[in-house]
Symmetry: C2
Subunit: 410 residues, 2 copies
């Protein structure tokens, strides 16, 4: 590269060769003022942008990083596999190792199919459910994010009505609503798809009511539909066995991706024995779905989480962050809502419907060396030590002070 490296200059160049200069969930133009677009380095729970600024990373690349950037164990497994081969004429032995590990770890999993994107996995899960039932309709929670294919992307741009015609919406955490949606389908429900908690953008997060979880399980059984948990966002952070396992609710199918390989590109569907035959009838594939390196990364990531108490570390980090933020908000005179599991946290300001305070505060956090998001949940990793959380809290405290100087107390 002979070009000078700065975020501003990179944006100028990008504007010419990428529509709008950027697209998708990493388009910094739709975050808050001052957010950098380009990043050059990650290490543990720190990231560096193209201008060389260092941040305590509370987004973890929007979920994929769960053991910290460049985790030595994962990188060693990757290097070993890479030295042998990645994309070959068939999968490597590690595909079997990984599938066995997942079947051993996840009580609802009797088999696994791998792919690359979370959207691949949610789409494939619905295909299995449709192949099994011979039915067409799927119940989806209103506003839930299940990926960015035409059937599920939050924007209708570029999609057709037919691509959405097999969906029926229900309100999250509302069993009567789900039952009413099922009734609408008149016996033609292939699947009920549900995220383990409500993590829609721009809204406070909402944990699943255990009675709702058990209720949709019973509803699916009653109508002969598959219960699909979309664990793409929450998977491996809340419970290695699956995010509804603490409720005693086991899905027929689960979609996984994001954190499963500590940043390497992989996704998976796990399912029960009853759906093994139908899964076998699909033609669902991709050029890179069988590549060995991401599978080696996933195997080591899951083993490391299991063997080092990684989920407890994330929970401790999350609790420390939540308690610190609560104390800071109170001391600066702000009423805030902290919602979602502590490992996948979010903070909103009471009554801040225009996101004005969220934007100002997150921009201020950024300037204080803390990368978090104004309208999308954050993610913690097992690499966030108490000292890292305290470093982040020093930044958020300064940002609250600046917010107070601008807006006063609530």
């Amino acid at each position: 590269m002979t070009e000078p490296m700065s975020d501003a200059h990179l944006r100028e160049r990008a504007a010419k060769v990428i529509p709008g200069g950027m697209y998708g969930h990493l388009n910094a133009a739709i975050f808050a003022p001052g957010f950098p677009q380009f990043f050059v380095r990650g290490e543990g729970c720190r990231q560096w942008d193209a201008d060389g600024r260092e941040y305590v990373d509370l987004m973890c690349s929007w979920g994929p990083i769960i053991l910290g950037h460049r985790h030595p164990g994962v990188e060693a497994a990757v290097a070993a596999q890479q030295a042998a081969g990645d994309c070959l004429n068939g999968p490597g032995p590690v595909m079997v190792d990984l599938a066995e590990l997942m079947v051993d770890t996840i009580p609802s999993a009797d088999w696994v199919m791998f792919s690359k994107n979370g959207t691949d996995a949610t789409t494939q899960a619905l295909m299995v459910a449709r192949a099994a039932t011979g039915r067409t309709k799927v119940l989806v929670a209103h506003g839930a994010y299940h990926g960015a294919d035409p059937w599920c992307t939050p924007s209708l741009a570029g999609t057709t009505p037919n691509e959405r015609a097999d969906l029926i919406e229900y309100p999250y955490n509302d069993l009567a609503g789900a039952e009413a949606a099922a009734a609408q389908a008149d016996g033609d429900v292939a699947a009920i798809i549900v995220t383990p908690f409500k993590h829609d953008s721009f809204e406070d997060q909402e944990l699943a009511d255990p009675a709702f979880a058990r209720g949709v399980r019973a509803l699916a059984d009653r109508i002969g539909a598959a219960l699909v948990i979309d664990d793409v966002r929450a998977g491996f952070r809340l419970d290695l066995r699956g995010s509804w396992e603490p409720f005693g609710v086991r899905p027929d199918l689960t979609a996984w991706s994001k954190a499963m390989a500590n940043g390497y590109a992989i996704a998976a569907v796990t399912g029960t024995d009853a759906l093994r035959g139908p899964a076998q009838t699909l033609y669902s594939t991709g050029s890179f779905w069988f590549s060995a390196v991401a599978m080696a990364a996933a195997k080591t990531t899951i083993e490391t989480l299991r063997d080092t108490g990684g989920l407890a570390l994330m929970e401790q980090a999350g609790t420390r962050l939540r308690e610190g933020l609560a104390a800071q908000a109170a001391s600066h005179g702000f009423v805030v809502n902290q919602t979602g599991p502590v490992q996948i946290p979010w903070l909103s300001f009471e009554g801040d419907t225009t996101l004005e305070k969220a934007m100002y505060w997150s921009s201020a956090c950024l300037e204080e060396g803390v990368y978090l998001h104004p309208w999308h949940n954050w993610f913690l990793s097992a690499a966030h030590t108490p000292a890292d959380i305290d470093r982040a809290l020093a930044g958020t405290d300064a940002a609250f002070a600046r917010l107070h100087a601008k807006y006063g107390s609530d």
Copy 2:
């Protein structure tokens, strides 16, 4: 791994944790007898299976490998990017470098959007066309492979009629047929999607008639639809500028993937200035779409192909292989059809409608150390030297001899 490593034992284990033991295009059960399922190593144009058998690789992992396995230049670029970071809170500067390189290399490209799978790219291209036109229907060639999402997968298992309702089929290389298909849509055609040549499985390949290529370009212009070239399979092997550039036919949108990063997982859509605004309206994204390592691999792959005459090397290798196979078939008394571009070759036996000879011959080739496919086109790389092709030809000759011993001459 404490388990003994053999293809047979890996298959036994896989049968328990993967539906049918394997799925998708790398499911060896649907190839020919004796084909190994698991691979452990690739180097240049050679691959090794889990039983340690070495093959001259004429499949190149079904397309992705174009410079040879573990190409030193690509691996060096990968290692450098990996040491800095891959999946971060934003793309790396290499995303801009790669987009600029593609815009500079591909005359029809004014912008680029990256993703992971070929299916991502074909789907995204149709979304752009629909966003641009506000129309719904897409003309697709009968039997063409555009990926494995419900809208395009060759099997209907797990798909719904609505998911296919916006497609209208036309016969490849038949302009009148394409015009008739367009007429059926009554003004509602968003796009015509076409592969640069006909490469349907189980059939002889068929090059595009230049008059057909020019005709669908004119048809798209006349009806105000986007012409989309699906260059996922052929891209970067026939012409770095796009596979129809030699015809002087430029698409509005092109889908790329497979060979673009020598095995690393990436896909892209390129488009014209007129479609930049519509492309900007989509919400199309994925957790790993912005990861820097695959982009670094793609940049080096394309530069290396450009700067080392990689396409000419592939063409020379393909010509040597085709001529050698023609002579061998004749000398053993078989009538064969060699179809498609020489870099993406295929051989079928005249009248072999049950594929009996193809199966026997490809299994024999395998035993003679040559990996090729009985019913899917093959791929060559720039790493196939004349000596490698001669080594392959030694194997194919022995296989023809065995075929002759079994079936006699045609």
